[in-house]
């Protein structure tokens, strides 16, 4: 056995509460106390394992540190697949971390540490439910669940597939729950708490299986953690702190009947942590020895408050090894490598130890197959893993096409998560992120000019920040920092770094920021001035009245002035007088912040005196001294004054919470009933009509470019006024005269329509030929649209007509809007005619309807107030390069910035199945609407999203029906009414497009194969 204490694994001397080795063995995580927060750090394993790697400067030791926990981190655990890291802390939170793709090394902004984060781990979920410190977290086998336990006496089971969904909360402990372990078979989870009990819970119904109290009845409640462990064969559960005859033990609980007949004895103080080796071993076959079949055995490490570690083999009566005095304080956590030969131990004293065993010492580890055989023998087939996904992972891919899509998916996933390897090579950042084809560099060049700046009602500047990466896609733009010419933090002079640790001892005053470093090299106050400073002190004034000297050789060597330093850490106060702008941040200055600053300044002064002597030799370098007088520190004395000042701070003059009035919520208060009750509702419906202008012009088509010009009353012939319509099409002009004033005009590339004051509608071809005799309308024209060869007329009497000019037929015959215009306040806010001749009416209520001429009915196509729209969450199903369906009528009516799913993230509490149903309903609405609108492109767009969603959610029935409909009958028969196209799109082509999507979920490989083969068959026909 070899033992190593890597001194570089440290949280700056702060306690390390937890350690866990990544399943791939290339890195490990530690959790504990940070400077002012909890800290999670990820370390490279290679320098622990190999001395030459430790010495190699090019091999990073620390890979990443995360300070996001607000308070001490008690537990860090990698998921079994190695993709996630879960951490739980005193801030009551569980955070789940994932490696961010594409981001190269960077530092924490403003950190003076030169240690760059080699890997970027990003908090992807925060799990909030505990009301007390989270003490332990554990991933279930196959990462189906994540369990966390807390001093709030509960255990929460989270759905690891759908964070932050909670599966259940296990209640029953009456004391702080301090340890968790899953049964390797997945049938149970065990917990140990301060209430002198160890409880085993079933995962089938989350009920208590057994409650073991006897071995714990004598236990005190002072053990920090009670990390129990289940043996890899599932046969034994070993508790942390138990007592037997007044001696501390680790209790062995047998799975069979939960018997408690054996224990590990020998530690002098309470056992804090037990950890089984993940491997099952068998005796090493000695050369020439008789190949006696020996019973497989397990290996277990036990750590205790007595600072010693023992390692046991279940085949031996005595420990394999006991190591005393490994640490100065209690052992807090243990982690085995997956190979079963290495072990990392961490302690409250802030250090970590690594033990390396040989096969000779432990035995021959069984391979996975042998281990499975043991499981099979013990648990039979019923060992069944609860997860379907787990079974899928062993599913054989039968179809080569399927394999391709699966591989693509894996590659994408790998790109997303980064390879597990800790080496630098994997983090080579891809430069030049692309944002709409523009590189980040280009964006940065023009950011100031391009960014949107507005003024708020009270005249303040408001900048809309440029979003350079979405959070939820995980698609962070690559290597921002590498492309930045000036790198705050990373380009820090290296001599400044050692100060961090020494400064940190200053404690509270410096807790939130980096204290100015007392600079060994650059600042060297001449004796005269520092003496003067001392004199000042003697004057009995504030000790901060110190004149300081600065070395300023060149601009780049400015050195911290203590006089100014306080400014860095003070919170802003109401700055009276001079400032022109409102100071708003007054409210929360800690009362004693000034006092703290004062004391830290005092320390600074002391330090300076101490350092001045050894830096005297540098004095020659000084070519300029600047002296600054510290501002009067009278404020330091008196917290009360600070308070007073604070009150002067003017309140923030911008928006605060107000009651929300959503325009669309007041729709249809008493609509339908009222409409039914009113005998002559038609009279109530009067749509606005445009007023007659003397002349107007409009562009009706871009390509070809068609302009219309109307001039009313150009001449009077025989008492009747004539109006002129002039049209210019690609430079060629025509004109015509009309016997009445033109009220409104519209056109498309094919037809031009004008409505006159005398309620006549005239339609001309693009070259000016009159296509139809004038149409007499019942009421004046309210809105007129042309699109392709269709003309739509909406009259003031709220009646709608659509004509197909080419076929000279009516598609919509004088249809009343009464049906949709229920409700007193509803007005038509928008109307349009699609290229396919479908009329669409948008109402002020936020609803949009189109008239379906084949069904002869109004159909709802969009409702801005629809809660489905807002709750649907299909963002994960959007196509990767989000080419929006910019111009379709559906998009127009739903608003260009269709914020579907906007509320989705806010509704994290919505049960997943509910959200799933809402999303499904929304997507189906979209599809149906696109179909009704005859909008082929939009139909295709939503169909793909819909299919993706079905695939992601595993809705096989719907997916199968969809495929069936798209494929149609394979064999021709006259009886089938199947249309090979929809909206001009060939259905089988659509199906061909869907297949790669379907291929991404291994679960659907049968479906995939089935339809792929049939498509091939049809193609070859």
């Amino acid at each position: 056995m070899k033992l190593l204490k890597p001194s570089w694994v440290s949280h700056n001397g702060k306690p390390i509460f937890s350690v866990d080795i990544h399943p791939d063995g290339t890195k490990f995580a530690t959790g504990g106390q940070g400077e002012d927060s909890g800290k999670v750090m990820i370390w490279n394993m290679a320098p622990v394992l190999r001395e030459e790697d430790e010495k190699n400067e090019n091999i990073p030791k620390m890979l990443c540190q995360m300070d996001n926990h607000l308070a001490c981190v008690n537990c860090v655990r990698w998921s079994n697949n190695g993709l996630y890291l879960a951490s739980g802390g005193d801030d009551k939170l569980v955070m789940v971390w994932k490696r961010a793709a594409f981001i190269g090394p960077s530092t924490v902004f403003g950190s003076s540490s030169k240690l760059a984060n080699v890997e970027q781990w990003r908090c992807v979920t925060i799990l909030r439910n505990h009301t007390g410190d989270v003490m332990d977290v554990a991933w279930s086998p196959h990462d189906v669940w994540l369990a966390s336990c807390s001093v709030d006496n509960t255990i929460v089971i989270w759905n690891a597939r759908k964070f932050p969904e909670m599966v259940t909360c296990l209640r029953g402990h009456t004391g702080l729950v301090k340890g968790l372990t899953w049964d390797p078979v997945g049938k149970y989870i065990a917990s140990q708490a301060d209430d002198h009990s160890l409880k085993v819970w079933r995962t089938m119904d989350w009920q208590l299986e057994t409650n073991i109290t006897k071995p714990f009845s004598e236990c005190g409640g002072t053990t920090h953690v009670l990390r129990l462990s289940w043996s890899p064969d599932g046969q034994y559960l070993v508790s942390a702190h138990a007592m037997n005859n007044s001696g501390p033990t680790a209790q062995i609980v047998e799975r069979d009947g939960w018997k408690t007949n054996m224990d590990f004895v020998g530690h002098r103080k309470a056992v804090t942590v037990v950890k089984f080796n993940p491997k099952i071993f068998k005796k090493k076959q000695k050369n020439g020895g008789s190949p006696k079949p020996s019973c497989p055995y397990c290996c277990c490490a036990v750590g205790s408050k007595d600072r010693s570690l023992s390692v046991w083999l279940t085949s031996l009566k005595r420990p394999l090894v006991v190591i005393h005095d490994l640490f100065d304080k209690s052992i807090m956590d243990i982690s085995w490598t997956l190979t079963g030969l290495g072990i990392l131990v961490c302690s409250m004293d802030g250090t970590v130890a690594y033990l390396d065993f040989s096969l000779d010492e432990l035995g021959d580890p069984l391979n996975e197959e042998e281990k499975n055989t043991i499981h099979q023998n013990i648990y039979g087939k019923s060992l069944a893993i609860t997860s379907t996904e787990a079974q899928l992972s062993t599913t054989i891919i039968e179809n080569p096409e399927m394999l391709k899509y699966q591989q693509e998916r894996q590659n994408a996933a790998q790109a997303g998560s980064g390879p597990g390897g800790a080496g630098l090579e994997s983090t080579a950042p891809k430069l030049n992120s692309v944002m709409n084809g523009e590189s980040l560099e280009d964006i940065r060049k023009n950011l100031l000019k391009k960014q949107v700046e507005t003024r708020t009602a009270d005249g303040r500047r408001r900048i809309t920040p440029l979003c350079i990466a979405q959070l939820d896609t995980g698609d962070f733009s690559p290597a921002l920092f590498n492309s930045v010419p000036i790198l705050p933090g990373s380009s820090m002079p290296s001599q400044l770094t050692p100060q961090l640790s020494s400064d940190s001892s200053q404690g509270q005053a410096s807790s939130l920021g980096l204290r100015p470093s007392h600079d060994t090299l650059l600042t060297s106050p001449p004796p005269s001035s520092s003496t003067k400073g001392l004199e000042d002190n003697k004057d009995g004034q504030s000790p901060t009245h110190v004149k300081q000297s600065l070395l300023l050789t060149s601009a780049s060597k400015i050195e911290p002035m203590k006089a100014l330093d306080s400014r860095f850490t003070e919170r802003s106060k109401a700055t009276p007088g001079v400032t022109a702008v409102i100071s708003s941040t007054a409210g929360l200055t800690p009362l004693d912040s000034r006092a703290k600053d004062g004391s830290s300044i005092l320390k600074d002064v002391k330090n300076k005196e101490e350092t001045s002597s050894d830096s005297e030799d540098k004095m020659a370098a000084i070519n300029k001294n600047l002296s600054f007088t510290k501002r009067k520190a009278d404020l330091l004395m008196d917290g009360g004054e600070v308070v007073e000042k604070r009150k002067k701070g003017r309140p923030r003059k911008d928006k605060m919470a107000t009651p929300i009035s959503q325009p669309f919520t007041q729709v249809e208060t008493e609509g339908p009933s009222r409409a039914a009750a009113t005998p002559a509702p038609v009279a109530a419906l009067k749509l606005p009509t445009p007023s007659i202008q003397k002349a107007f012009s409009l562009q009706v088509s871009m390509e070809p470019s068609v302009f219309l010009e109307v001039e009313n009353d150009v001449s009077v012939v025989a008492g009747s006024k004539l109006s002129q319509l002039r049209c210019s099409r690609d430079g060629r002009e025509w004109d015509t005269l009309l016997p009445s004033s033109v009220v409104t005009a519209a056109g498309s590339s094919d037809v031009i329509a004008v409505a006159c004051e005398d309620r006549m509608l005239s339609v001309f071809s693009s070259c000016g030929r009159r296509l139809l005799p004038a149409i007499q309308l019942a009421t004046p024209m309210s809105a007129l649209h042309c699109s392709s060869h269709f003309v739509m007329a909406l009259t003031a009497g709220a009646r709608l007509s659509v004509w197909d000019v080419q076929k000279q037929t009516a598609l919509v015959k004088n249809e009343s809007l009464l049906t949709i215009m229920s409700g007193a306040d509803t007005t038509v806010s928008q109307s349009l005619l699609t290229q396919q001749g479908v009329p669409v009416i948008g109402l002020s209520s936020g609803k949009s309807y189109c008239f379906n001429s084949s069904l002869e009915t109004w159909t709802l196509i969009a409702d801005k107030g629809d809660s489905l729209v807002q709750c649907a969450d299909f963002r994960s199903c959007l196509p990767s390069h989000d080419a929006p369906v910019s111009s379709g009528p559906l998009a127009v009516m739903q608003g260009r910035n269709l914020n579907a799913g906007r509320l989705a993230s806010r509704l994290s509490s919505t049960p997943h199945h509910l959200q799933q149903s809402m999303t499904l309903a929304f997507l189906e609405n979209q599809l149906a609407a696109a179909l009704t609108l005859l909008s082929a492109q939009e139909y295709r767009y939503w169909l793909l999203i819909y299919a993706r969603f079905l695939v992601n959610e595993g809705s096989e029935y719907r997916l199968r029906e969809l495929c069936k409909e798209l494929l149609g009958p394979v064999h021709k028969s006259a009886a089938t009414a199947w249309e090979p196209t929809t909206l001009g799109l060939r259905k089988r082509e659509l199906l061909r497009e869907l297949l790669p999507v379907i291929g991404q979920n291994l679960r659907f490989q049968r479906l995939f194969t089935e339809y792929q083969e049939q498509l091939e068959l049809l193609r070859n026909k």
Binding site: V151, P465, T575, K653, D654, K655
Partner: protein, 208 residues
């Protein structure tokens, strides 16, 4: 395990400043300050962030602090964002003549719901470029000849724990509410909550 408890609700910082690039640096004293700020937001923020640039006119007294400008930044959906904060150079009339040349500080602060959660400080050196002037600086500072150099490589970042969910102040001036961006707001925060709402212990806790 630490036994200390927070009384206020604990939430994680929702906004992380990732980088501040100092643009146009060094530059003549009269040029506007330009900071390109990159930040990341954990979740959609219902309210704007307020950023400020404060120029410390004199180490002598806070009275000479000038808030060069303050901007609201929003809306801020979850994700990574950047913007350039440009603010005019300080009003030279408000700087004590004796402090015009030499080292001072410029601060960038950001507040959310009236609570400052980050303060970024840079040393700034104002110097004459002309060696002649440097040797014999005029008594009355000649701002046109001064060059401003921000020590961009050495930001001092101070982070404060704040209450991200609640607001620090009472809801006055609610007439200035922009309804559009507020529509996602949860039921309004109760006015008059206990004053130390946003105050979380900044200290490191003794865990033993």
């Amino acid at each position: 395990m630490c036994l200390s408890r927070f009384s206020a609700s604990v939430t994680m910082a929702k906004v992380q400043v990732l980088n501040v690039a100092v643009l146009d640096n060094p530059s003549p004293f009269g040029n506007p300050f330009q900071f390109e700020i990159t930040f990341e937001c954990m979740e959609d923020l219902p309210e704007d962030l307020e950023w400020k640039i404060i120029y410390v006119g004199s180490a002598e007294s806070e009275e000479y602090d000038q808030t060069l400008d303050s901007v609201l930044v929003g809306p801020v959906p979850a994700g990574r964002h950047m913007f350039v904060f440009q603010a005019d150079a300080p009003n030279t009339g408000l700087i004590p003549e004796s402090d015009a040349v030499g080292v001072t500080v410029v601060l960038i602060t950001c507040t959310y719901r009236g609570q400052e959660f980050i303060r970024i400080g840079y040393y700034v050196n104002n110097e004459y470029t002309d060696p002649e002037l440097r040797e014999n600086p005029p008594i009355k500072p000649d701002y046109t000849q001064l060059q401003r150099n921000i020590l961009a490589s050495n930001p001092r970042v101070t982070r404060f724990h704040i209450n991200w969910e609640g607001c620090a102040e009472r809801m006055e001036d609610s007439e200035n509410v922009d309804p559009a961006s507020n529509s996602m707001l949860p039921p309004s925060c109760l006015p008059g909550k206990a004053p130390p709402l946003g105050l979380l212990p900044d200290n490191s806790m003794d865990c033993l």
